[in-house]
Symmetry: C2
Subunit: 260 residues, 2 copies
């Protein structure tokens, strides 16, 4: 659990060091799509020769991007451009399934394997974005976006309701996509249909109560407490490409943070 400034998105100022400048150049290749997510980048020795620098320096540059989560090294195989966000499931905030350890007790720390909840699209329509949301997406005031309402099911029970906003025209392909082809996960869809790789997200959790409509969608009583997760997701260029509100039963919420 680490707080970060959502504004400082892409291109962290690398100072003036050589490996910093090289790292920025490598990042450019990823952002521009020259190096595709999932594919291997050239070998360290190759890159060192190309840039005309020592092996240790290119290693240091790569280390920067590994730290940033853009690259991944695999011993003996190569260095790869990471695919989109993993482990960003909203389920990590909740414990819906019966757990061995009662909350507050001395848990084992073992995660109950995160399942992918089934997705039910309730509505999906284009709409004018309000001023602040347009600004978030880097669009002009009055720009349009895609507003999606979604319900997530787990073990045949409704667990989460989500309101998702996506920028238009970037996400226009989703508007024409038949409901049957949506599947359960949004980010793979954004990648395949819109060419958007979600690479980072900032989640904010607060506590609320459900209104009558929300409650009925979750089979909970009106006014029932809920955890509200507000997500801003960013693409490789550092532009916000998703704003999402997720609500789930507050009493199923649990989150673990490690501080040092």
């Amino acid at each position: 659990m680490q707080d970060n400034d959502p504004l400082r998105s892409a291109a962290t100022a690398p100072g003036v060091s050589r490996y910093g400048r090289i790292a920025a150049q490598l990042q450019r290749k990823i952002v521009d799509g020259e190096w595709q997510p999932g594919s291997a980048i050239p070998a360290e020795s190759t890159l060192a020769a190309e840039f005309g620098i020592a092996l240790g320096t290119i290693r240091q540059a790569i280390a920067v991007l590994v730290q940033e989560g853009l690259l991944e090294r695999v011993q003996g195989k190569g260095t790869f451009v990471r695919n989109g966000l993993t482990g960003a499931s909203m389920m990590r905030f909740f414990r819906f399934r019966a757990d061995t350890a009662a909350p507050g007790s001395f848990a084992t720390g073992i995660e109950p394997g995160l399942a992918i909840p089934r997705s039910e699209i309730l509505s999906c329509r284009a709409a004018r974005l309000d001023k602040s949301m347009a600004a978030l997406f880097g669009l002009d005031a009055g720009a349009r976006g895609l507003a999606i309402s979604r319900r997530r099911w787990l073990d045949d029970k409704p667990r989460l309701i989500e309101s998702i906003w996506l920028p238009l025209p970037r996400c226009e392909p989703l508007q024409r996509l038949p409901r049957a082809e949506w599947g359960d996960l949004l980010y793979p869809l954004l990648a395949s249909q819109c060419g958007i790789t979600i690479h980072r997200a900032v989640d904010e959790v607060t506590f609320r109560t459900l209104d009558a409509d929300e409650a009925s969608l979750l089979d909970l009583p009106d006014g029932h407490p809920c955890a509200l997760v507000t997500r801003r997701a960013y693409d490789l260029q550092g532009h916000c490409a998703e704003y999402r509100l997720t609500r789930g039963d507050a009493y199923a919420f649990r989150y673990q943070a490690d501080i040092r």
Copy 2:
């Protein structure tokens, strides 16, 4: 925001690399108290000569401990043993003071400077620990601990109530300490009175409701929703040295997590 296994505490298996073994030796010096928190360790060149290894290798070993949060490098000055946990305030989970940005809106990401809440000790007594808590502290069944009840004030309003358990006899000095000398922060007290440096903590957040006693302590109605933070704090040796339950108004809860 990063999940971690609370069990894998100290001495991460360093494989068989030389820098890994060196890192373990340096860690031993810190854990054993040979290198005191806050003080500088010998220069890299000195250490390299002492261990009979190259500069790059000792640098790599130090980098491991920096990553672990045990050491801190300062350009031009030296490498220092980090003092206890900073930024572990429970206030980071709450937003009690009026904030410019309404929750759910597009916040600026600027933190409203974390204040230290005033501490009021409600009770402090030795008691037998239950079996699981004794095990958590690495003590035999039936061992005793210190049970502390504390209320935290901010802006002359009661904001948090805390139940803290500490292992005996390690924390015995606190039992004899006059209330007036406790101050507002526990960890500096553990360091100065008991020689315990809290170096890592694992917090788990859930939502509950307050019972009548708890509610009255916080000037809230019976049954009011609260955020419950369960903390396990660990010393340099990796032993758990504190178990804490913190409760505060759920409507003041907010937490931000960065995923990549």
